[in-house]
């Protein structure tokens, strides 16, 4: 320690370490190793692995390597605990969640130090950001437990949840997963990340201290194999936060199992700086974006896009600010940049940056000295990054941003959206007109205006595209742990349908009227199928009802392109879309006899056919009504912030219809989708495909713009496979047999499109055929944060 006089001459900060004594004592007390937390008790450790301090490489603890047997025991414990836990009154669950929040606060400093030791993040962040957000999450969800019955009528907990969380915010991601699950009445088996298991184990002890009933929360530690075992185990839902590659594997692994799934995956989020931005504010935003948590943040603003007129001064300010960042001991209270979580991650960062440099990018890196031991990477940004460079596409997951100039707001949007991801975005402009325009047009689940990395339990967080699906936080986050309470007996399973026979030889039809030509309907035009084939559709008594056009993958390709071309539909007002839907209802009512005859010809009774048409008219009215009423929310988050969620349409959706109710089911699925601005490629009922010809005439008569609804008849399973594998289809609803559902879920892993599969028949005329659930499924919330202050 220097003398006061020496310190006065230098005026440096000096060391300011947070004490780790309590955490060290805790680790010493568990020197024999940590077991799993199953059914309210810790198991003997068994086979273990080491967890190390990234800042020094020292071994902190030995932790049990979870086997499939461990996972099975934990899942069984959670299953046993489920009836009692879900059967508790909301108020009683709320008391438990409140106790968890309180106990997190009582152990706040311990948890912060432990997190910084195990993860390498600066104590300032774990102390001021992670742990307070954890407590806030449990408080918020204590509230949801309290009001669950009133706020989510008719909903039931999903059941036993397998949750796999990452190493970048170990305790915070635990809170994001555990709090809503417990609030909803689910029980949990949680697997923390292999690199950072300690805070989850400490939390398990805290939960036990707080009196959480045994089996409600179980923690099984281990690596990827343990996680895979949990995904494969008998859970009702899998929730995962982590890399896109693992998320994709989980999507495939759970396909067809009926397990609910939410994925919060990678990102390459844009950070847009307009020329009228407060540049110093934006520079500080970069600090809070890519230099927060060593850049190991899925929503980090990793792609800085700067308008050309200010690109130079912005880069100069950024470099100057970067030079003041302090890298070093995560437990020092003056540290800005801590250690990279693991040597493997460090090697990946280094390799990506070297590759980028080899491709011509210029590295600007802070000249801070690096400690001799441990994993470190000095904060940096890169200029001269070509759009095709690995640095522009790959998530680096380190304290490294790219800086790219743009000319206009339109170009900024184009660059911002040129990514496979869609998690978050940050927009900097002092012009609210411009800022909100960008916020609306950038494809991301969360947009911060003149801010970045602002979080609150009351605001939904989650992504689009390969950033995953599902939301955490707020009402949307609660929905991810609820499902409709079972009402009555489940319907029969949809039957698999054979490919239609595209050759002649069937029976003659009953009707001697003028021959009808059923075509496909693509881009507002009736078109012949690319393959030039039709098939005979059976009607009443098994006799031929007519020939339907046999669509193939090229027809679907064309339909998807036509749907994309109709993007103006998403920009229409809710009122404008409602007008079209009302007009469709009017025209449908006027064609009641026509449709009823068509349905009767396909085998429906006269009464049933008339009822189906009448129900379809009402359905069109209902979604016309909702087109301007399904309208998002403002959230009570932080003071001085407007926090909005707007339901955003997926864009281009695929819809594979069930066999039953060929008119009503199709409209019940297509109308909610287009009411919110989606464009649809629908596969009409295979057995009722002839209705398509009447429907497209209805669409034409009702001024539905070309490309908004496209109808491709044919073999449901084959066409669904094509849509599931189409990377430019954002969401797919599939109503068909279990084998098809499994295929759709597995194939959709390619672009991680959101899927909704239903394998059982339902009464389309009743409540099961209509409601907010359809609108929820046709959209995802975009959360927009706007801090204000004159």
């Amino acid at each position: 320690m220097p003398s006061v006089r020496e310190a006065l001459a230098l005026l440096d900060y000096g060391p300011s370490p947070e004490s780790a004594a309590d955490v060290r004592a805790w680790l010493d007390a568990h020197a024999a190793g940590f077991g799993h937390f199953i059914d309210g008790a810790f198991s003997p450790p068994g086979a273990t692995f080491e967890t190390r301090a990234p800042a020094t490489g020292e071994i902190l603890a030995r932790v049990a390597e979870g086997t499939p047997g461990d996972v099975a025991r934990a899942v069984a414990a959670a299953r046993r605990a489920l009836p009692a836990w879900s059967g508790l009154a909301g108020h009683d669950r709320a008391r438990h969640l409140y106790a968890l929040a309180r106990h997190v606060q009582k152990r706040a400093r311990f948890l912060a130090v432990l997190e910084s030791l195990d993860n390498g993040k600066p104590i300032r962040e774990s102390r001021d950001i992670d742990v307070p957000l954890v407590a806030r999450h449990f408080y918020h969800h204590a509230g949801w437990a309290e009001v669950l019955a009133e706020e989510f009528p008719g909903q039931a907990p999903v059941g036993v949840c397998g949750q796999v969380i990452p190493w970048n915010f170990p305790l915070l991601m635990l809170a994001w997963k555990v709090a809503p699950a417990l609030a909803a009445g689910c029980t949990v088996v949680l697997k923390p990340a292999e690199y950072t298991p300690l805070s989850a184990l400490a939390f398990a002890m805290i939960a036990a201290e707080a009196g959480l009933p045994r089996g409600v929360l179980n923690v099984v530690t281990g690596g990827g194999a343990t996680g895979a075992a949990l995904v494969a185990a008998g859970v009702d839902k899998v929730a995962f936060t982590g890399s896109t590659a693992v998320g994709r594997a989980i999507r495939r692994a759970t396909a067809g199992t009926g397990k609910a799934l939410t994925l919060e995956l990678g990102g390459k989020s844009p950070f847009v700086v307009m020329d009228d931005a407060d540049l110093d504010a934006a520079v500080e935003g970069v600090v809070d974006a890519i230099w927060f948590n060593q850049g190991q943040v899925c929503c980090a603003g990793a792609r800085i896009l700067v308008q050309e007129g200010v690109a130079r001064p912005f880069a100069a300010r950024l470099a100057r600010r970067m030079a003041r960042l302090r890298l070093g001991d995560p437990l020092d209270k003056s540290t800005d940049i801590g250690a990279i979580v693991h040597p493997v991650q460090l090697a990946r960062i280094v390799a990506l940056v070297r590759q980028g440099e080899a491709e011509g990018a210029e590295l600007h890196q802070a000249a801070c000295p690096l400690p001799e031991r441990g994993s470190w990477f000095a904060p940096a940004f890169l200029t001269g990054v070509a759009p095709a460079s690995v640095l522009a596409e790959e998530e680096i997951f380190g304290p490294v941003a790219t800086l790219t100039p743009f000319r206009t707001a339109d170009e900024a949007v184009e660059l911002a959206n040129a990514t496979r991801y869609g998690l978050a975005a940050s927009v900097w402009s002092e012009n609210v007109t411009v800022a909100l325009d960008l916020a609306a047009r950038i494809r991301a689940g969360v947009v911060w205006v003149n801010a970045t990395n602002v979080f609150d339990a009351g605001a939904p967080f989650g992504g689009w595209r390969e950033s995953g699906f599902g939301r955490e936080g707020g009402r949307a986050g609660m929905r991810a742990y609820l499902r409709p309470a079972p009402a009555g007996r489940p319907g029969r399973e949809e039957a698999a349908l054979p490919p239609p026979a595209a050759f002649p030889g069937g029976e003659a039809g009953a009707d001697a009227g003028i021959d009808r030509t059923a075509k496909l309907y693509i881009g507002g035009r009736q078109v012949r199928p690319d393959g030039g084939n039709s098939w005979g559709v059976s009607g009443r008594g098994g006799r031929l009802a007519g020939h339907a056009a046999l669509g193939n993958r090229k027809d679907l390709r064309n339909a998807v392109e036509a749907a994309h071309a109709a993007s103006a539909w998403a920009g229409a007002s809710g009122h404008g879309r409602a007008q079209v839907l009302y007009y469709l209802a009017e025209n449908l009512a006027a064609r009641t006899d026509l449709f009823a005859r068509g349905l009767a010809a396909l085998g429906a009774s006269r009464v049933a056919a008339a009822g189906e048409v009448a129900a379809a008219v009402r359905r069109a009215f209902w979604y016309a009504a909702m087109a301007d009423k399904f309208d998002g929310a403002t959230h009570a988050t932080l003071s001085g912030h407007v926090t909005l969620t707007m339901p955003e349409p997926w864009g281009v959706m695929g819809i594979a219809c069930p066999s039953e109710a060929p008119l009503l089911a199709l409209l019940s699925l297509v109308l909610p989708a287009i009411a919110l601005g989606n464009r649809v490629v629908a596969i009409p009922s295979q057995t009722g495909a002839l209705v398509a010809a009447d429907i497209y005439q209805l669409l034409e008569a009702s001024d539905v713009p070309a490309g908004v609804v496209n109808l491709v008849t044919g073999h449901r399973e084959e066409l669904s496979r094509t849509l599931a594998g189409h990377d430019d289809v954002a969401a797919l609803w599939y109503f068909g047999p279990p084998a098809g559902a499994a295929m759709v879920e597995a194939e959709s892993a390619g672009n991680l499109k959101a899927t909704w599969v239903a394998t059982r028949r339902r009464d389309w005329t009743g409540p099961a055929g209509q409601g907010r659930a359809f609108l929820d499924a046709a959209s995802a919330p975009k959360t927009i944060w706007v801090p204000y202050g004159a």
Partner: protein, 332 residues
Amino acid sequence: MDEATSGASHPLPARSNRPRNPGLPLAPGWFLGVAVNRPAAERRAATLVARRSLKKEHQAAWLLNAIRCMDLTTLAGDDTEARVERLCAKALRPLAAPIVAGLGLEPGEVRAGAVCVYPTMVRAAVRALAGSGVPVASVATGFPAGLMPLPLRLDEIRHAVAEGAAEIDIVITRAHVLGGAWQALHDEVAAMREACGPAHLKAILATGELRTLTNVWRAAMVAMQAGADFVKTSTGKEGVNATLPVSLAMVRAIRDYGDRTGHRVGFKPAGGMRTARDALAWQILMKEELGDPWLAPDLFRLGASSMLADIERQLEHHVTGRYAASHRHAPA
């Protein structure tokens, strides 16, 4: 009066003999496009202090430095010469002797940056500080509201300089900022700068009355363009005085002015700062946003008086390990 003579008879302390800011004609392009985002500034101000921590010898050294940069101030209607003399004595010996010794320093090694008084008190202060090298600063220009005819305000400056003030803390006409009359503001401050002669000019923006951080930033930039040697937040008489977000806006303006001209302008937060913790917070702001040169009294002053008492208590605690009582220290 003859400025050259005045300058010769009241030499400025050596540490203020850096190149002065000559100013330049009004350059609206430097500030009209600039807007300061308040929530972002507040966030930065809030986290800035949480990002840095000072312990033990380092904390003691920073607190001593705060004293070195402190303008010990009395600006009250009941000021008397005796009161001013007492303040000057405290400026020369701001810490009790055992504390100084306990910190390993020589007696008299640590002194306040300046003593700041009304013009009629300058003479008494100069007398009390004679030969010490501690400069006397005087408020002027119809402090605190500044709503006197300009010639009278300029005369007041000349009077204070003639009395021996080495630094003049002027107030700007807030109406010029609120009305966007930037040329009028520039002319006014430039005239005051001229009236100051060799004395250094600190321009008080009265930020609590300018309201928006954008106004603050622009007013600071215009004052610097008009030749201010320091920009200062407040008179201490506004409803809101020095705050970290306001200070952040001003030091960023100083940095941008320096980038454009190469001239270093000083910063003086004033009013509302009372604790040792505040003393550390504002120094952290200077170090992080402007750099080490702004941790010295030629570029940084703390306009505060009651802060010293808290610093003295903290330093005694550092020396003795016991929590201190102010009544055992000499009052300012």
